[in-house]
Point group: C2
Chain length 145, copies 2
């Protein structure tokens, strides 16, 4: 198991324990985690704190160079908003826990030269499958459906 993906999963599990949507993310620069977060729609009533956005926010203000040397790990294929944030900051590589329960904007990322690695990790899949089954309304809200 990829140790950074494992940390993203820990974030997703933390979110679930808080009663939230179980999606987590970490931003990794030269082997070190410099930002971590999880979806906070329920916890904070937030419409913009998806897991990836929370990790980017918690990383704080960084120089363009740091983003351009970083990898974003996320337990779930990134939605259009998180994809846009990746493109804004020029993050060159994204490791995706799974894209079976939700397919985000991977084609757009690839078309802009972002390297994508999809793990289809069973823990990530199980977390989302159960959440979507138990709370379809909350999940649909999170993806604007």
């Amino acid at each position: 198991m990829d140790k950074h993906l494992q940390e993203a999963i820990r974030e997703a599990q933390k979110g679930l324990e808080e009663g939230g949507i179980p999606i987590g993310s970490v931003l990794v620069h030269k082997g070190s985690i410099i930002g971590r977060g999880h979806n906070r729609r329920i916890q904070k009533g937030s419409t913009i704190l998806h897991g990836e956005m929370d990790a980017l926010e918690n990383a704080g203000r960084l120089s363009a160079k740091v983003y351009q040397e970083s990898t974003l790990y996320t337990t779930l294929s990134p939605c259009p908003m998180c994809t846009g944030a990746i493109l804004l900051y020029g993050i060159p590589q994204v490791v995706i826990g799974e894209n079976l329960t939700f397919q985000g904007e991977e084609d757009l990322l690839a078309s802009r030269g972002v390297k994508i690695i999809v793990k289809n990790d069973q823990t990530c899949i199980d977390l989302m499958k159960k959440f979507i089954h138990d709370h379809p309304d909350l999940w649909n809200e999170d993806i604007g459906k």
Copy 2:
């Protein structure tokens, strides 16, 4: 002058008065402003609170239907992140104060069927021109350069 664009400009000016980057936004549903905000990079050390994101966050959790009936006003052409948020929530129309100092992802928005109206309002242009001239470092940071 479009009264809703005027409110987005008020938000941009509020941001400037706070020492921030002068970009403002309002979300309008059936003629009423339901969310308003401005860039808070400097004020909150935030990497995700662009003007549009702040307006969406301040609008709070909404049903998909409300977004799909709304128009987002922004004083500046939307960056990739804000573009992604517009696409995530299916906002069908965006009114842009100006796109001369910065050209965002208007082509992507248009390719997904979002209607774009560009005003090239002189107040919006002047706000950004002066800010970019006075603080090129902060501006570049805000757009990941």
